[in-house]
């Protein structure tokens, strides 16, 4: 892990530090060359715990690596009888991938994937581009704060905004 080069004692600096570390990690990863020997080492290491399933291991390794490209390869591991080592091969290969990318499920209902955690966005109807909605809400909140300078005059307007923000947040939480 690369250590951050930015120092500071407030929260903003911590965020910058984290971002810088991630970016540095990524650029470092792209600078490091992976040789044929490195890949052979990975396959040989995996093979030690499933010596007779080399073809299956390679299929799963390349299949899982394809998750990080625009051409994913989906696989179905099956066998004539139970106990052939399907789950073993699958968990073995997946254990070498960073945990943050692997989601192990004992089961999933039909529509569960469509309700996974996500961020709220609005879509530009002309370009089709998406924009996160949270910064816009924050902006409106700050406007409300400004209106609070003259509470009596802006009372109705402030209450209306507050109610709508609450409703918006409540809805988002419920769906998530």
């Amino acid at each position: 892990m690369v250590t951050s080069y930015i120092t500071g004692d407030n929260n903003d600096n911590e965020d910058i530090q984290k971002t810088a570390t991630v970016e540095e990690d990524e650029s470092l990863a792209t600078e490091i060359k992976i040789t044929n020997e490195d890949l052979k080492f990975v396959i040989d290491t995996m093979k030690k715990e499933a010596p007779s399933d080399l073809v299956s291991i390679k299929q799963l390794l390349y299949g899982m690596a394809s998750a990080f490209t625009k051409c994913p390869i989906h696989h179905s591991v099956n066998s004539r009888k139970t106990g052939a080592g399907k789950t073993h091969d699958l968990t073995l290969v997946s254990s070498y991938f960073p945990k943050k990318y692997v989601i192990v499920l004992a089961g999933m209902s039909d529509k569960a994937l469509f309700h996974r955690h996500g961020i709220n966005v609005i879509v530009d109807e002309n370009t089709g581009n998406t924009m996160p909605v949270q910064p816009i809400i924050e902006d409106l909140k700050s406007k409300i704060e400004n209106l609070q300078g003259d509470k009596k005059k802006n009372k109705k307007e402030i209450e209306k905004y507050q109610y709508e923000i609450e409703e918006l947040n409540a809805k988002s939480q419920k769906v998530n």
Partner: protein
């Protein structure tokens, strides 16, 4: 008012790229039905509209936007060929079959013993060390970062790889004959495997670099193709590979041994002048094999003891559901079915199980130096038109690639 408008156009964005989903148990039939268009990458963003209740109790519709495609891995034993949409699912998921040979079972039993019976240090020395595992994980982690970085500038279904012998591969699959729609699925699978194998080896492959955008295309080598074809022996099968193997080694040879006449039950009777005559009492309408006969043949040929019911469930029903064999009721024994082949053989990419090479029957498509150079003509021509400022350059890593 602005917030109200905002609220109405609000959508949840769910990012699914760079995710590996492992279904460790047989997934519900409906799950794959709903995922079909997503795993086909029909579009980058897909909308899912559903009804939901608001805080005030009003029912309305909401939309979630799903971006990207997760990579799915499923495990199962049970036969699902009878499902209505099985063929669609079968086309999208490549079969992986763990080895079940006697040698594998013996070595796996040894490993199970070591896993339970050794302390960590012994396991590290005798099987695999923790340090080696950590190093392998580190390499895989760097590899994933590189793949993500390379894919940043690519759109859905864009490979980002230059393959100079695609025409040869296509010809090696169809060999100039009629192989049906499955041929396209096989071609797609070869290309996907070849693409990812080239990409994980991208640091040791020559590449074409777009000098304007910085986008680069690693160039596939024959070494990558060989690795891809080694996997295609298993991955090109329309059926589960053990079913295809049984069909080719047990079912077809046994069926070919049958006489050309329809099976019949006859009775000997005496004629008016006391001569003997054979009269037909019952006759089958089809030529075919019974499950009992096939269970016996499975044991004789493959040395696998299997029950009559087992033959039906593991081999005959999946083959019948896939339309590879016919199933008709026996006239002589009404409790039996007769099974006969629809096709002479099931699709096989290679002529020989142990030889993963494609045969190129047309010499003009054999991927020699001239054919490969021809593949770069477009880039060279484009560069010449552009003058001094080239849009791309080829960078060699010193790896011998042809």
């Amino acid at each position: 008012m602005k917030l109200k408008n905002l609220m109405q156009s609000l959508k949840k964005l769910i990012e699914l790229d760079n995710k590996i989903f492992l279904f460790l148990d047989t997934a519900q039939e409906g799950l794959f039905n709903t995922l079909m268009s997503m795993i086909s990458q029909d579009s980058n963003d897909q909308l899912y509209e559903f009804s939901d209740k608001s805080n005030t109790g009003k029912i309305g519709s909401k939309i979630n936007r799903l971006r990207g495609t997760p990579t799915i891995f499923n495990t199962q034993v049970i036969d699902d060929t009878r499902q209505v949409r099985y063929q669609e699912k079968n086309r999208r998921l490549i079969h992986v079959i763990p080895n079940t040979s006697t040698e594998k079972i013996h070595s796996a039993m040894g490993l199970i013993g070591q896993r339970y019976g050794l302390v960590d240090e012994e396991y590290g020395i005798q099987v695999v060390s923790g340090a080696d595992k950590e190093r392998a994980k580190e390499i895989v982690s760097i590899m994933t970062d590189k793949l993500i970085d390379h894919s940043k500038l690519l759109g859905p279904k864009e490979s980002g790889v230059k393959i100079s012998f695609t025409k040869s591969i296509a010809h090696g699959i169809h060999k100039g004959g009629d192989i049906g729609e499955w041929g396209m699925t096989v071609m797609d699978r070869v290309m996907r495997y070849l693409t990812i194998i080239t990409k994980v080896n991208m640091d040791s492959r020559p590449r074409i670099i777009d000098t304007k955008t910085g986008k680069f295309y690693p160039i596939s080598t024959f070494e990558d193709l060989r690795e891809a074809l080694d996997l295609m022996g298993m991955a090109s099968s329309m059926l589960r590979p053990y079913v295809a193997h049984w069909y080719n080694t047990v079912f077809l040879p046994t069926f070919k041994e049958l006489p050309d006449e329809h099976h019949k039950v006859t009775k000997e009777i005496k004629g008016l002048e006391s001569e003997k005559q054979q009269i037909t009492i019952m006759q089958e309408t089809e030529i075919g094999l019974t499950s009992k006969e096939l269970a016996q043949k499975t044991y004789e040929i493959m040395n696998i003891p299997i029950s009559v019911d087992g033959v039906r469930k593991q081999y005959l029903y999946p083959l019948s559901n896939m339309g590879v064999i016919n199933m008709t009721r026996s006239v002589i024994n009404r409790s039996e079915n007769l099974y006969s082949p629809v096709e002479d053989s099931v699709f096989s990419l290679f002529d020989d199980d142990g030889d993963s090479r494609l045969k190129i029957c047309d010499f003009r498509l054999y991927p020699n130096k001239r054919i490969i150079e021809e593949e770069y003509r477009t880039i060279v021509k484009h560069d010449a038109k552009e003058g001094v400022e080239k849009f791309s350059k080829i960078q060699d890593t010193g790896h011998r690639w042809y």
